[in-house]
Each structure stands twice: as C-alpha cells, then as structure tokens.
C-alpha cells in the first residue's frame, strides 16, 4: 500500500494532535497533584487533622504485616474510623457494652479462637487495647496495631 506525501502530512498532524492531548492530560494530572499537595499542606497547618500510623498484622492468617504510616485522619478520630480509612472493616455494635466489636478486617473474619485485637505503641512496647476501637480516640502521631491472633488476655 503506497502512502502519498499528503497522507504522511495528515498522519503527522494526527500524531501531533495525539502528542498534544497526551501532554494536556499529563499536565492536568500534574496540576491536580500539585493542588492536592497544596491542600494537604493547608490541612496540616490547621489543627483539624493529624497523622497516625496503623499496622495490620495478619499473624494467624498468613503472617503478613501491612503498615499504613502517616495516615491522614481528622483530629479526634477514633481507632475504628481510622482503620476504616485504610481497610474494609466489618463490625458489630454491642449495646450492652456501648462499644463496637470488630468482626473482620479486609475479609479476614474472626473464627474459632482467632480474633482481631488491637494494641497501641507506648515508648517501649505494645500495650493491649482495653476498650472498643470506637471508644479509643487517637492522638497525633500515635502508632496502633490490629493483630489477628489467639488472644492471651492479660
């Protein structure tokens, strides 16, 4: 198939168009990214948000440990809400305890004697969470962990 000079010029224009479009779309996402960064900076300057570190330890499932460091959460956010920002959480509210009990995280369900338990990091060790996740209010820069385990209550 013979391609004439006219065809080549027109295809060139088509190619140029696609390049311009790719450039514009890339520019669009670059601008969006910059705007997001600016917004993040603004949020961090205002005392409305904080960062926390969340660890999900699938110890008794497949021993995977996943960290969600510097997760951006509203000030005064509880552990349950913060976890919902990084994972799919199924929970049941128990009226008698006035607290929620986590049934599954990321589709790993409590079963048999294995449960999702939570801990908070003190300066030297993990401390067992003593209240329901929705009752524990996180502090800025706090580190917490969910562990799928056979509980050994203290």
């Amino acid at each position: 198939m013979e391609i004439s000079k006219r065809s080549l010029i027109i295809f060139g224009l088509g190619w140029l168009t696609s390049m311009v479009l790719v450039g514009c779309v890339a520019g669009y996402y670059y601008m969006e990214h910059q705007n997001m960064l600016k917004k993040l900076e603004e949020y961090e300057r205002q005392p409305l948000f904080m960062r926390v570190n969340i660890c999900i330890n699938y110890k008794e499932w497949n021993e995977t440990i996943v960290w969600y460091n510097k997760t951006f959460v509203p000030l005064g956010c509880n552990l349950l809400n913060a976890t919902q920002m990084v994972a799919v959480v199924n929970f049941t509210y128990w009226k008698s305890y006035n607290a929620s009990f986590v049934d599954a995280i990321n589709n790993v369900w409590n079963s048999g004697n294995k449960y999702w338990m939570w801990y908070r990091w003190t300066s030297s060790h993990w401390e067992y969470g003593s209240v329901g996740a929705d009752k524990y209010i996180l502090s800025p820069e706090e580190t917490v962990m969910w562990r799928y385990e056979i509980p050994s209550y203290p």
Partner: protein
C-alpha cells in the same frame, strides 16, 4: 447552484443546527462532521459559512446557555472546520479511488484530519475563554484536557465511520461523480 443543491443544502443546514441544539453529552457533537462534509461537497466557502452560521445560532439557543464572548471564537473554529472540508477535497483532486470503496489510508486520513481540526477548534475556543478571564492559554487547555480528549475521540469515530458513507449518499442524491472537483456554492 441548481435547485437540487439548494434544497439539499437547506436540509443539511437545518439538520446541523437541529443536532447542535439537541441536548447531548458535553463535547460530543456532529456539527463538525456536517460542516466538514458540506465544505467537502459544496466548497470551502460554503462550509465555512455553514459553520459560522451554525455556531452563531447555537450561541443564542444552546441548551448550555448563551455563548457570550466565546461565540466569535466558536464561529471561527467551526468555519475553519467547514473550510478544511473544501480544502481537503481540493488537495485530493481527481483522485482515482472510488468513494464507494475508500481505502483504509483514506479513512485514516479523514480521522487524523478530524483529530487535528477538533484540537484546533478547542484551542481557538479555549483562547476565547482564557483571554477575557486573564488565564494563561496553556492552563485553560490543561484544565479542559479531558473535554478535549472526549471531543477529539468522538469526532475521530464520527469522521472515520460516517464521512465516506455520507459523501456517497449525498453524491448519489446529487447525481454527481464524487471525485470531480467541487464547484463553489
């Protein structure tokens, strides 16, 4: 221009304005195709006139609201589309290929041309929006990137799939050999 041509042109103009004014997804339009087609069939000047007139009427009656200051830019952009149709036929000249069986190259040519002309149209209209707003033109283009992509993609599809079919239909209605050089309307 004979009566048959005048009648057909009137129908196409009405169709063009009608389709342009019909509620539709943003930036998906058949006006470019029709203006280019009319320019191709009836000459560059007539295509340009049709494009400008369509956008002029659209500027007042569009379901998206009054075009305002952007209207002259839309008219210029669509006029260019119609003019390009006539110009394209001129550069094709007495092409031996039959319009009844356009080659893949020819279809690709028309699609590429559609992409380029649509981009030019969008650049022109973005200039029309950016200048009075005091926004840099490149920023205006980037902000509307996805709208441009939709516009270009839809026109590439419309031109690639429908242009030669419509040329064939109009040619047979007019009873002319498609590839004879057009007479200016």
């Amino acid at each position: 221009m004979n009566c048959k041509r005048v009648a057909l042109l009137a129908v196409i103009t009405a169709l063009c304005v009608g389709i342009q004014l019909t509620p539709r997804p943003p930036n998906v339009e058949a006006t470019s195709l029709i203006c280019f087609l009319v320019g191709f069939m009836f000459g560059a000047c007539f295509g340009a006139l049709l494009g400008a007139l369509t956008m002029f009427i659209n500027g007042f009656l569009s379901p998206w609201g009054f075009a305002g200051i952007i209207m002259p830019y839309q008219m210029a952009g669509m006029a260019l589309m119609g003019f390009a149709g006539g110009f394209y036929r001129k550069i094709l000249g007495e092409n031996p290929n039959s319009v009844n069986h356009p080659t893949k190259i020819l279809r690709l040519e028309v699609s590429s041309l559609a992409a380029f002309l649509t981009l030019i149209y969008d650049v022109i209209t973005n200039i029309g929006w950016a200048l009075p707003s005091g926004i840099p033109i490149i920023i205006a283009l980037i902000q509307g990137a996805w709208f441009t992509v939709i516009h270009v993609a839809s026109n590439v599809v419309f031109f690639g799939s429908a242009f030669f079919i419509l040329v064939r239909i109009i040619s047979s209605l007019l009873g002319e050999t498609s590839w004879k050089s057009p007479k200016e309307a």
